[in-house]
């Protein structure tokens, strides 16, 4: 009954390990999920470990157990109706006299399902070591048989209002990995960025040296301390603050990096407009210039983060006199400068506030810049990938989990 649900979770980007599955069945045996609300809480505790997966989990749960939002009439799927477990339960109940024929027609669907679930949960507890849920064809009540499985459908006024209501509010959507960077999820972005600084312990008693020195002193104790070096990473942020398109992002970016200042002592900001032509500016008004060939003298281990929308007239990037500043005497095309930067600083990434889906539509320069620097967008998963890239020295692109491609309800209806 639950295996298709686990598979669905995997399809929507949640890492599911066999360990969790076993733990879940153990919890079922102990009777920790007597009603749907507790089942929801238990599943979430065991399977979801990161904040950005919460929303996907809730939607999957709603779609699988409570029916998709497109359905408006409560109905049970045929498989469920005809499944052995449900029928057996019906027979038992009728035999016991708890459920008469009249009841069966009169009782609302929710009540039936609630009763059924209570009994089923108890049964799971009683069968120690002999799982009747897993793999035994036909016993699972919820239509478990490969492609046909739909889960219990009884939506709208659902079996347990509280669980559905909570899910409908979608409390966690702001934290999902594909949400754009805003003040709410800045904290999460920060958590990802702080991985960039490895730190080591500070002072340590060097016992061996102490013992050696003390023995040489004829027994007079001489304590020797050593200090381990901390790795200091230098990060430089080059920010495109020209043009109306970037204005809305400046505040958020500044907020993120302002918080980082506590962690990273060596964080420098420079500014440019659209593209880099021979110099970068150390003030937001772009008056104080720092020539690029001086900038290129920095340590090649410096991490470089360029933030901009990479959206400019192709001429600016490719023509030798394409610099946006009319009076500029620079005769090297913008692309050249970017290449020089990339060659000097292999650990560099470009972060683009425009979301990934729109890159192809916005401008061809985005793709051109994307060929020079690895480009990610300013969502949580984009920043994570960018940080992974910076940490691994630019040698491998790490995929941070499969990204969901279809909305969850649609994918369920496709199965039917």
């Amino acid at each position: 009954m639950f295996l298709p649900f686990f598979q669905l979770l995997r399809d929507h980007g949640l890492p599911v390990s066999l360990r969790y599955v076993l733990e879940f069945y153990e919890a079922l045996e102990r009777g920790l999920a007597p009603d749907l609300d507790r089942l929801f809480v238990l599943l979430r505790l065991i399977f979801v470990k990161k904040l950005e997966h919460f929303d996907a989990f809730e939607q999957t749960f709603a779609a699988y157990f409570l029916g998709s939002e497109h359905d408006c009439s409560p109905r049970l799927s045929r498989e469920f109706w005809e499944s052995k477990a449900f029928r057996r339960w019906l027979e038992d109940e009728t035999r016991r006299g708890a459920l008469t024929q009249g009841d069966f027609e009169r009782l609302p669907l929710e009540e039936l399902l609630r009763r059924f679930w209570e009994v089923a949960a108890q049964q799971a507890g009683r069968h120690r070591g002999g799982h009747t849920w897993v793999g035994t064809g036909g016993t699972s009540p919820f239509g478990h048989s490969g492609a046909e499985s739909k889960g219990v459908r009884a939506c709208g006024e659902s079996v347990h209002r509280s669980a559905l209501k909570v899910i409908e509010t979608r409390r966690y959507i702001d934290y999902a990995a594909t949400a754009p960077l805003r003040a709410e999820n800045v904290r999460q972005a920060l958590a990802a960025l702080k991985h960039m600084v490895p730190a080591g312990p500070a002072t340590e008693l060097d016992v061996n040296e102490t013992v050696a020195r003390s023995s040489r002193n004829g027994g007079e104790i001489d304590l020797v301390f050593r200090r381990e070096l901390r790795d200091r990473i230098q990060v430089v942020v080059l920010l495109d603050n020209g043009g109306a398109s970037m204005v809305s992002y400046i505040d958020v970016v500044k907020l993120v990096f302002a918080r980082m200042r506590d962690q990273l002592r060596d964080l420098d900001y420079y500014y440019f407009h659209n593209c880099i032509y021979g110099c970068v500016y150390s003030d937001p008004e772009r008056r104080t210039a720092l020539l690029l060939h001086q900038f290129l003298r920095r340590d090649p281990e410096t991490r470089l983060i360029l933030i901009g929308d990479a959206n400019m007239a192709p001429a600016e990037l490719l023509l030798s006199n394409g610099a946006i500043d009319y009076f500029s005497k620079v005769r090297v095309p913008g692309r050249e400068w970017l290449l020089r930067l990339r060659d000097r600083f292999p650990r560099s990434v470009w972060l683009n506030p425009i979301c990934r889906g729109r890159w192809a539509q916005e401008s061809s320069t985005i793709r051109s810049v994307g060929e020079i620097f690895p480009m990610e967008d300013l969502t949580l998963s984009g920043i994570r990938r960018a940080v992974e890239w910076l940490n691994t020295g630019g040698t491998q692109r790490l995929r941070v989990g499969p990204s969901p491609r279809r909305p969850i309800a649609a994918s369920l209806s496709k199965q039917s």
Binding site: S17, R38, I46, A191, H195
Partner: protein
């Protein structure tokens, strides 16, 4: 063993179920959330409600995993070997006299079940967290110097809190149950305030809460949290104020907004609106 909340701590039903499941399955519970949402308080209240001892470990960035378990005092032993006169009661030849146990070590050695709190674990390095992995999994750690494995007599109820300042490593997350406490809604906040200030007049509270939530939406660098709200209400109550704002200016703003930038930003907005 079930936990149902106490008179001093507001517990919503979801969190109650989660705590009880974690206790039943004997798994550590990792709680994340904004500052002031009652994460640390939860552990204290569990200990109080169930009548158990609490071992607390306030994690600092210099902590190594071993320190939380035990510390071997080499300097003292060196000193005793040279200068000891024997009346300190410690035997230089016996290493057990020089092993001091940290919170995890003490929790594992306790006779009765106890609650173990690892506060703000995200302040430590990921190395420390990796070192704690098998401690959490098995309930045992090895004393390196004598190669002795110390196993927990009873697995303590472990609560780990994190401010989500730094990301926790995946293997660490896999071994815990994770729960994120969202910021309380207005109804929940009302109940929380009522627990702390039962005598607060209702009109004041009804006026103050929307103001508070509005302030949170304004995008300050450090938005006010539950702790600040309680301080502010306390100040208003002491002051005997009937309303939270006079002529458009919020009283006792300093208890809500702590950063200079935020205060200036707010004053600027106030000046613009008035």
């Amino acid at each position: 063993m079930q936990f149902f909340g106490t008179d001093r701590y507001y517990l919503n039903s979801e969190l109650r179920d989660i705590v009880n499941i974690a206790i039943a399955m004997e798994r550590p519970l990792l709680i994340t959330g904004e500052a002031g949402t009652g994460k640390t308080q939860l552990a204290f209240e569990i200990a109080r409600a169930l009548g158990l001892d609490l071992e607390e470990a306030r994690c600092k960035s210099t902590f190594k995993g071993e320190e939380l378990c035990y510390v071997y005092d080499t300097v003292l032993r060196l000193n005793d070997s040279r200068f000891s006169t024997g009346d300190s009661g410690r035997d230089v030849n016996n290493i057990w006299d020089y092993l001091r146990f940290g919170p995890i070590g003490r929790a594992f050695q306790a006779e009765r079940l106890c609650v173990l709190l690892l506060d703000e674990i995200d302040k430590t390095d990921s190395d420390t967290q990796d070192n704690l992995l098998d401690v959490l999994e098995d309930g045992s750690f090895i004393i390196r110097e004598i190669n002795h494995k110390l196993k927990a007599r009873q697995r303590p109820i472990t609560i780990i809190t994190s401010n989500a300042k730094r990301e926790l490593s995946d293997p660490f997350l896999r071994r815990c149950y994770c729960h994120h406490i969202p910021f309380p809604t207005m109804e929940e906040m009302t109940q929380i305030v009522r627990l702390h200030y039962p005598q607060l007049p209702a009109p004041l509270l009804d006026a103050a809460l929307p103001t508070f939530y509005r302030l949170r939406q304004m995008g300050f660098e450090k938005p006010p949290a539950t702790g600040e709200l309680l301080d502010w209400l306390g100040a208003l109550q002491l002051d005997g104020a009937a309303r939270p704002a006079e002529r458009g200016r919020i009283l006792h703003l300093g208890t809500l907004l702590k950063r200079t930038q935020d205060l200036l930003k707010y004053k600027g907005r106030e000046a613009r609106d008035s």
